[in-house]
Symmetry: D2
Subunit: 304 residues, 4 copies
């Protein structure tokens, strides 16, 4: 039986890395079907993504303590008797400072979606997941308002209503984190969730928390970017999906896109045109993430 | 003999304006060939651009003291015995608070180009002007460096070398302004001119001074925007042409465009890709301006 | 009570038209809030769209026999005692060869959606309609397969399964037309409906039948355009929404858009990237149509 | 002394290729600075581009008889005593059916430009070459009209006027080919050259003859595409640069781009907007070519 895996590596660059890694795959007969690499010359750091197939029956196992992560929860393979055990040993010995992870390509990302009142990003993600385009499982939708419960109902996804007010925010976040844990969530998506999360929440989902911001960052961070764009008189508006960090709208950017506007467009027109860009940009970012094509370093992303 | 004129009007909005204006044209037999209008509902202000033909021989005359300007130097028509005299009277009586101007469509904009060392925007403007696409005359190129003199020579355009240093800046600007006056310049274009102009210079060419900035404003104003874009990790870069105002890179935007970049693009790649966007954006802005399609109000432009 | 209407006019061009039309509105006190016009100089034809408000209570009435249509079913206003009666008289007397229609702006377009197995366009239309962006009512979804019934169920829209085979096609179309009539459908949308309709069906919904084709027409008409694009080695793919005419994929184009592809993209990648373009292009075309912004003449559209 | 070379390989795919090639580079101490590869799964063919540096003084030599070419004239390195001799031996023994070539990265492409009357593409190429963006040498401009001689003069490039008429076409082509040979031309660019070349000319410059076509191919091949686009009523126009083959406008596509148009745009507007796209698309194709980033197989290109 063939099974496809994805290996991602981030390590200090040095001569011969590609050779050593491809040698390992050749020696063990793993068939490489896709390989991407990139060297950041400023930081002298090497990044690689390899999709490969293994001919064998595998036993999924617990996360080994020695492996490190890039942008994602837990490696899905490990343990004794595993045909990938040699690969794990090889990776752990590759380089000092190496970060790597390994995923079964057919394991969907368990994704929680946070929303407030706007439905377009939520509906686009749901639409792309039910037709198989987006390899995600969505076990829960979380919202600080009841408005979008009917959509969750239509798609038969549990809807958790957790109101958030200034004085209940900490308690609300504790409840949100419990729900994420309970559903074994890999990735939380803020699909027009109009609340700012605390540093401890952000830290718990470091590089696993994606937001859509309705401007072409770094232009117009913060609230009401379409109003700002209108009054500034820009000729093009945009949207940005990014990992959430402690600094508002300043995390690593995954995807951006834009749309041209006219002087006659009102703020309402900007919102309408922008919605299409927002949902496309967020869904594309999820596609990259769910296919393990996003690697993060410093405040930048590599999209393989 | 048919001759085409362009009338631009900016005035407080009120019921019946289109009717009254088109009535005038019908009554005097001026044939409207293109008409654009826009009402800013926030400011209750009406904007219109009419291109029309007149059958008669006209005597160009001096600028009448009573007419007002929109974004440009001097109306080209006026004076007694002029078949457009009635139009001038009509416009002056139209509305309190009306600004208007009137241009012969075949009169090219006299344009001075300021450069420093980079040639791509200059060459694109020259290329588009010699094949008739851009209806401009370029009587002079001004630079604070000698580097691009050879281009001016090749296109047989006078090149004025005016070095600018901290202590000579005022004197340099006086000389620049003299040259502009001497050449009867309608429009000054900063085509990668790497100096900041003083408020008095800016004021003298209010709405007649266009800059190209190599970022998608308001993102990355000021110096080294490609470096900033690289370190911020944006996925798209852009360029912005705008009227120069006292606040750096904050004047009314005329045109913007963008280009997608990859994580593997270096700062040099960004510069190279950006150059194409810069020159296109600046040349398009000049095309709009030279065809009297740009109207300015507050900090925004209307592009008809 | 204020109520907004949209008037569309297509007629032979002549001097003074704008003046006459705006005079009428001024005389009757109808407040113009948006006006667009265009003159096709090749065909000497004048097109206008006016959005205006009327202060009065109106009695909706039946379609008058004398009015003509542009791209749509039935004018929504007419009849004695109607404050718009004068407008109708004025329009009928305006010009020989005038086509015009008049709509209450708040009347949603009754839209039937035809699908086969692919859900992305259907879901995008439904998503945009439930959040109020698209002013359409969708009383029925028609399909030649059962695959997408579950989506109709989730959105509580009647789903009509009408299988189509070579020998049952005529009967199927008769049934489809009955359903459209029974639901009083203004517009039929082929949202990835993989059947070719007969000339008699097309004629019954002339300029009220919109298709999405998954190529940048006129490139790659007919079946399997992504395969053709892949083998031709194009660098950009696209999608086209157009009115259906008797000639396959050759009707008036309403909207198009494109997306860049890479040499490494497989046919599956093209399909995935193309789906986003397809749904955006179709939904934008519906938005234009539903806001009565599409006018058709010859084989072209005007998008106001 | 460091010197950068570019190696391109096209060969039947098999397991271990990347490993073997990178092993060679590691063994000989050549430092890989950029590596791109692609496997066409349909054709089971492997493509690679490696940029690498060698520390040594090299003697340029004649083209060895055994090496094969990909899209370009002659390898620039070979011969006994050459530190790249081992690489040549390795490449020649790599695989049956391997095509490869090797270039010094700093050797500019010797490029001849063919024009007729339109200047915009010519001027854009010249502009990009004089500021160092395009690594090309342009020893000659060839034209069937005298119109653009003044541009050649301004840039001090020999201009060869070779009129072409139905009865002189063969003789004209013989003269053109002599000029190309005499100037040791690597690449001929048809920068709006409005003549169709004969199959024997095309064959002599197979994969070294680039054309710009003013449509988004395969839409609107042949003459007057802007007229066709106007009458078809498309909403977007484009341009395509491609290698010239015997079938008109059907050769391998290198680059394409598009621009949005409006219903109000005349054919003249389409031409004006299209010119910008044409020159960008052609100059980008030249950049890819001149940096040895274009590989051709069948009727497609790989752009590394």
């Amino acid at each position: 039986m063939h099974k496809t895996y994805i290996l991602r590596i981030s390590c200090p660059d040095r001569v011969g890395l590609v050779h050593e890694i491809t040698s390992f795959f050749k020696q063990y007969g793993h068939n490489i079907i896709e390989i991407d690499q990139y060297v950041d010359l400023h930081q002298s750091r090497f990044f690689m993504r390899i999709a490969f197939t293994v001919e064998s029956i595998l036993q999924p196992a617990k996360t080994p303590p020695g492996s490190s992560m890039i942008g994602e929860g837990a490696p899905v393979l490990a343990g004794g008797g595993d045909p990938l055990a040699s690969l794990r040993v090889f990776m752990n010995e590759l380089n000092s400072g190496t970060e790597w992870d390994l995923h079964a390509a057919d394991r969907p990302i368990r994704t929680a979606i946070f929303v407030t009142k706007e439905s377009h990003c939520l509906l686009d993600i749901l639409s792309r997941s039910i037709d198989g385009e987006l390899p995600v499982e969505i076990p829960v939708i979380i919202s600080n308002h009841e408005d979008l419960r009917y959509i969750a109902d239509r798609f038969e996804i549990p809807f958790e209503y957790i109101p958030v007010h200034a004085d209940t925010k900490s308690a609300a976040e504790i409840k949100q984190l419990e729900i994420l844990k309970q559903h074994n969530i890999d990735l939380a998506v803020l699909a027009k969730y109009m609340q700012i999360l605390s540093p401890s929440f952000i830290d718990a989902y470091r590089n696993r928390l994606i937001n859509i911001h309705h401007s072409f960052l770094p232009a117009f961070p913060g609230s009401r970017p379409y109003h700002s764009a209108y009054y500034r008189g820009v000729k093009i508006i945009g949207a940005t999906s990014h990992f959430v960090t402690e600094e508002l709208d300043a995390g690593p950017i995954i995807e951006q896109d834009v749309i041209r506007i006219k002087h006659s467009d009102s703020i309402e027109d900007l919102k309408r045109k922008g919605k299409e860009v927002e949902k496309n940009v967020l869904s594309r970012a999820l596609w990259y993430y769910a296919n393990r094509r996003v690697m993060t370093y410093g405040n930048k992303t590599i999209i393989f």
